[in-house]
């Protein structure tokens, strides 16, 4: 697989260790674009807030979704078997893939067996995770992503920067340029309507000529053997209906027990993802269409091992709505590519180290631990707690850089000795007061590159306290009433 990973510009760094702060630097430095990106995603977050507010039972739904997912995971083997039985009975063919390589080989095998040269694809982060496109292209098969955002970045030979809004890092002008280069639109055109129309014409052609359609799966229903795909552009329907062969690729965590559970997730998904009450198209596939074939590929690719770990199990609840990215103040300012992984943002920072801890060890630290992701997540994944758990795990595995570990060791030693702490504090404050500004605010002091250090007081609190006649006298600022005693739990 590795040789395919380097085919895309943005993924060339994927095998080496990625340092998030370094990767984020250019994105943050471009102030104008960074602020625009931040604002665009915050706009989506606010839309989501309004939609979530419109449902009085929002928190109840989240709890229900979380418990349904937990229940499914606890009984995953049974539900997967039930799904296979029902899907097969409905006429679909079910395949099992242990990892990305197997998944790709299965898909290629199906395409070759049916003499397929041209494929249209829609809504699949999983195939992105498995790097299916370069794999198929290397076999001479044409793969066209049909979601507008996906198509834009495919033309630009870049990875997606967001799981729901894959081209959110690009502005209208960038898209205009890309389309001018690849689709022959007018130079300098940036009118979204004009550009969308150009893409539509270009894609129509691809749809009509495709011999197979590959789609992702948002939800697979054990009870019926059906799969549901949610899109706003309707392209998954076209891709699955025009060509005779439909291959649906899904991670094993996409399962839900019953058809009746679907409503919970459909209500949460669109609201959390884009702030819509429902996605424009929620297409349900139960068996192949007349004269066609439906193949469903169930992929593990590391999911079982996440399921086996108590601290991270709930990460499998993820329905890939992207809300945690939209709300994440770090993601909004550092951009999706800075995570150098297929799924960026908070959930990506939990999932990526599970796939390769060493490679993604900086991601759990790309987080201020504000906890907004945990509260926004429609399936209640305790994301920021999992990121904290990853930090401990990285520490345990000895993967913490010396620059992180050493200062902590020194500080811990100091904090264990209150007298020494007081003395060191005194020295620190004294130095800050007497040393020239240029010396305390040098380039080696990362804090002070853009920030002033606090003004150092002469006395610490502890020495002030010692100098007082404590705790005998009190210093009331408002007149206290000595008669009334405080009451508990007023």
């Amino acid at each position: 697989m590795d040789r395919y990973q380097s085919r895309r510009k943005g993924t060339t760094t994927m095998k080496s260790t990625v340092d998030h702060p370094t990767a984020a630097k250019p994105f943050v430095a471009n102030q104008e674009r960074m602020k625009w990106h931040d604002g665009a995603l915050w706009f989506v977050r606010e839309k989501r807030d309004r939609q979530a507010h419109s449902i009085p039972e929002w928190e109840y739904l989240r709890e229900l979704a979380s418990q349904t997912k937990a229940h499914t995971q606890a009984n995953l083997a049974e539900y997967l078997e039930a799904f296979e039985r029902q899907a097969t009975a409905a006429g679909a063919v079910v395949h099992w893939a242990a990892d990305a390589e197997e998944h790709n080989a299965i898909v290629l095998g199906l395409l070759q067996k049916n003499n397929v040269q041209r494929v249209v694809k829609s809504k699949s982060m999983l195939t992105e995770e498995c790097h299916l496109n370069p794999y198929l292209e290397a076999q001479g098969i044409e793969v066209v992503d049909t979601d507008l955002g996906e198509r834009i970045i495919q033309l630009r030979d870049e990875p997606p920067s967001h799981i729901v809004l894959p081209a959110i890092h690009l502005k209208k002008g960038d898209v205009g340029e890309t389309f001018h280069e690849h689709l022959g639109t007018e130079k300098g055109a940036s009118d979204p309507k004009y550009l969308t129309e150009a893409a539509r014409q270009h894609l129509r052609d691809r749809f009509l000529n495709a011999q197979a359609g590959i789609t992702g799966v948002n939800f697979a229903i054990a009870e019926t053997g059906g799969v549901t795909v949610c899109t706003n552009e309707g392209n998954a329907d076209l891709g699955a209906s025009l060509p005779p062969l439909h291959i649906a690729c899904m991670g094993i965590e996409k399962l839900i027990p019953r058809q009746a559970d679907l409503g919970i997730f459909l209500r949460l998904l669109a609201r959390s993802a884009t702030g819509q009450p429902i996605t424009t198209y929620s297409s349900h596939f139960l068996g192949p269409r007349e004269g066609g074939q439906l193949h469903i590929v169930l992929v593990d690719n590391g999911r079982s091992s996440i399921r086996d770990r108590d601290e991270f199990r709930e990460a499998l609840n993820c329905i890939r709505c992207g809300a945690c990215m939209n709300t994440c103040p770090v993601y909004r300012r550092s951009g999706g590519h800075s995570y150098a992984s297929v799924v960026p943002g908070p959930i990506g920072s939990v999932l990526s180290p599970a796939a390769d801890t060493e490679q993604h060890k900086s991601l759990p630290f790309a987080c201020s631990l504000c906890g907004s992701c945990t509260d926004v997540c429609p399936v209640k994944i305790p994301l920021h707690h999992q990121l904290l758990a990853w930090r401990q795990e990285i520490g345990r595995e000895g993967l913490l850089p010396v620059s992180k570990r050493m200062p902590m060791k020194a500080a811990a030693a100091l904090f264990a000795r209150p007298r020494l702490f007081a003395v060191a504090g005194w020295f620190g404050r004294f130095a800050l007061r007497v040393l020239p500004h240029a010396l305390t605010h040098n380039r080696l002091n990362t804090w002070a590159v853009a920030r002033e250090l606090p003004i150092a007081p002469k006395k610490s609190f502890r020495s002030w306290y010692r100098d007082q006649d404590r705790p005998a006298n009190s210093l009331p600022i408002v007149t206290p009433d000595p008669e009334s005693s405080p009451t508990k739990n007023r």
């Binding site: 702060p21 300012r333 853009a450 006395k459 000595p482």
Partner: protein, 261 residues
């Protein structure tokens, strides 16, 4: 009530008046307060950096030191959250019971005032200024001292309620009511670029709302924003909630004479 004052290490060293103000405030409400000087740091920097094992001895000391008090009160949501939520897996066996006892009586300042001080005792001096409230993340989303914008629940708002009791104070309305300021402990250094970008937009939100002072229950967030504002020569001030409630001047953390740039 006998209260053990839990003073975050950086407050002790850099913002002593925040601790003094907390002490005054609690005493003015009739509490008996003591600062056990054996305390240093709760261990949060180590735990958040992935070195939880280094935080264990500090956590154990903490429990030992604060055992004798009826309550442990701290002018920081973040340090309180460390004890209340993140000490949990650091204790096992015999030491567990003592830890749980201390954990259950450890409260952030506004939480304590709201729960254990009768309303008629909460009389604060006038503060005739336009105030922007920075809701610190750990107080908000770990201790739940306010209702955060992501969750569709109407929660309590202990800081907001305290501010409401201050005569002549005007609260300004922010565009992003509870966005993170980007401090995040060691995050501020490890991810300095992003941290600074977050801080600047937080400050800009307050400035755009025409605030004179940014008030928070965590001095760490304020230290970070103050650092950015000093660099930019912004006229905005920062104050800890305790300082405001004690009637300190708006310039308390910002002595112009000592300002170096």
């Amino acid at each position: 009530m006998h209260i053990g004052l839990f003073v975050p290490c950086y407050v002790d060293q850099f913002y002593p008046d925040v601790a003094v103000a907390t002490l005054e405030l609690l005493e003015s409400c009739g509490m008996q307060v003591e600062f056990p000087s054996a305390q240093t740091c709760c261990g949060q920097p180590m735990a958040n950096t992935g070195c939880a094992e280094m935080a264990v001895p500090l956590a154990e000391r903490f429990v030992e030191i604060f055992q004798p008090y009826d309550f442990v009160v701290c002018p920081s949501g973040s340090c309180t959250a460390m004890v209340v939520h993140h000490y949990d897996h650091l204790f096992s066996g015999e030491k567990r019971a003592a830890f749980e006892a201390v954990r259950d009586k450890t409260l952030e300042l506004s939480q304590f005032l709201e729960r254990y001080v009768p309303a008629e005792k909460l009389n604060f001096p006038s503060f005739p200024h336009r105030v922007g409230l920075h809701q610190s993340c750990h107080g908000l989303r770990e201790l739940r001292i306010g209702a955060c914008s992501e969750r569709m629940v109407t929660g309590n708002d202990s800081v907001g309620e305290l501010l409401e009791r201050v005569p002549d104070l005007t609260r300004v309305t922010l565009k992003r009511a509870d966005e993170c300021c980007g401090f995040g402990g060691t995050f501020a250094v490890a991810e300095a670029d992003v941290s600074v970008a977050m801080g600047l937009s937080r400050v800009a939100d307050h400035a755009a709302a025409d605030a004179e002072v940014i008030v928070a229950g965590d001095m760490s967030c304020l230290m970070h924003m103050q650092g950015l504002m000093r660099r930019d020569g912004s006229p905005l001030r920062v104050m800890h909630l305790a300082q405001l409630l004690c009637g300190r001047s708006i310039d308390i953390n910002h002595d112009a004479k000592e300002q170096r740039r």
